[in-house]
Amino acid sequence: MRRLPALLTIVLLALLSACSSEPDGGSNPRLTLQLNWVPEPEFGGYYAAREMGAFRDAGLDVEIRPGGPGVPVMQLVASGQATFGITSGDSLLVARERGIDVVAVFALYQSFPQGIMAHAERGLNTIADVFQGGTLAIEAGTPWHRLLEKRFGFSKIRAVPYSNNLGPFLHDPNFAQQCFITAEPIAARHAGAHPRVFPISDIGYNPYSGVIVTRREFLDQHPDKIAALIRAVRQGWQAYLADPAATNQFMHGLNPTMDLATFSDAAEIQKPLILGGNTPPQPIGGMEFARWRTLAEQLRDLGLISRVEPEKAFVNP
């Protein structure tokens, strides 16, 4: 029992350090951008911006922190341990529902990059056909999982957990799985399979994705810094879209498990997701009120959020 106070002190200190916001060291504090996955072409523009000195030229000191499976981006941003984080539009709205006051300032993917891939040999024609039989690996708890279940029903298929492992797909011709359009289908093709990809946007669910979020507090205090960051990020993406080779080489050094051919394939495939979708055209990463409203309404109809407040969810700096 005598040790109890010491133990409590340790718990206290751990909690304290977890809650304290980042130190504002000096006049130019380091900003961190927390990625939600390992370095891959979906982050190419950020690494390009850093390598070409766009952040430095904008007077910013930006650290890019790679993520991985299960990295709690929203909590890191909310607690101030990261200034910016990358997440999806629907996660942002759900986080806001939970009382996390985060705001989107940039949306890389104008089309939702999530899809379902099945073996082409099955001859499926639409996303609805996926739900006629076989196995489907899918992450539980995502809004689009709920939407698919509502729309098509899962009674004829076997739903199993999705993991970042192509083995079961390659192994079983009746296996379908969720996929990042720019990632798994390429890897499956390289492994000799013939995947047919059905984008989730086919069912009218098309949230912004690859979204940069920050705390409302930071946005209010440093609008100039955010504007400068987004300008630099745009320069980075323009450079990466024009020629990704050097940045891919650099990211391959950070993530050697992804080969260079896959890097360049993915960089090519994601181009329409980044550039397309908007009429009239707007700068890379720009967002529209109507699309945030549609997403919020969809999430409300699924019972995931209670209020539709798109105006609070994003700004175009």
């Binding site: 409590l8 759900v94 492992n165």
Partner: protein, 260 residues
């Protein structure tokens, strides 16, 4: 069985109440937001609101974890007997039994899906893999540490290998086997939950592992903690059952082990 005295149940109840009250008060006072660290009251709220769902999930995990634990007890016990037969067998295979202790189950779990398919079999296999080693190691040490004086006695009476094994070594290893089982009981719950992360089919609604994954995706920190609490309670229940089992077994064998 006589009812436990306050001396037995009071300390854990006091510590539970004190720690919970302290956390509740401290989190309220410092206004730590619930998405970073949910208050105990919020966790209890989630536990009550999703009680039925979590209870069903816990039941499912209990089934696969106990099947894995049972397999560990039987196969681990048998393996220990085989290993004790001859030093050569021990030298040949025991080092590889250590594999089960060091295997990073998170890395192996996706392979279990390929070998056993999605569903309870892969989950049980995961529970088995993480829980078998403590049983092998403890039982083996029990089998090998039979009282030398009794060994001599068996030799004087010209008892054969089999008689010595059945009448001396195996009964003598019972306490160590039960210690192994106690360690294994908690590990089996962990193994089942990790197995569920990759292999649960949700056909019956899914186990605790699936409940945790969904709660994380829905950013329900309170529900994550509620599910983790259920896992802890399940581990505690397994531990208690093994203790009851070991008291019964020990009473049959001799006067009983020291109470704890």
């Amino acid at each position: 069985m006589k009812a436990p005295t306050p001396e037995v149940w009071l300390p854990p109840v006091i510590s539970l109440v004190a720690i919970t009250a302290f956390l509740e008060g401290w989190l309220a006072l410092t206004a730590v937001p619930g998405y970073l660290m949910p208050r105990p009251s919020a966790v209890m709220g989630a536990l009550i609101a999703s009680g039925q769902e979590l209870l069903r999930a816990t039941l499912q995990t209990a089934l696969t974890a106990s099947a894995g634990l049972l397999a560990s007890a039987v196969l681990g016990g048998l393996a220990a007997v085989l290993l004790c037969i001859h030093p050569w067998i021990r030298r040949a295979f025991y080092p590889y039994a250590v594999f089960f202790q060091t295997v990073p189950i998170v890395a192996i779990a996706p392979m279990l899906v390929i070998w056993f398919g999605f569903g309870p079999k892969a989950v049980m296999a995961s529970a088995f893999i993480v829980s078998v080693f403590p049983i092998i190691a403890n039982t083996l040490s029990g089998l090998l540490s039979a009282d030398p004086a009794l060994r001599d006695l068996f030799r004087i009476y010209r008892a054969g290998r089999l008689t010595t094994l059945l009448k001396l070594q195996i009964p003598g290893a019972l306490p160590q086997f039960l210690t192994g089982l106690r360690i294994a009981s908690g590990l089996a719950v962990i193994g089942a939950i990790v197995g569920e992360f990759v292999a649960d089919t949700w056909e019956n609604g899914g186990g605790i592992g699936t409940a945790v994954m969904i709660a994380i995706k829905e950013q329900r920190t309170d529900k994550v903690f509620a599910a983790v609490l259920m896992a802890a309670l399940l581990g505690l229940l397994f531990f208690a059952l093994v203790n009851v089992l070991s008291r019964t077994a020990m009473r049959r064998w001799r006067l009983g082990e020291l109470s704890e």
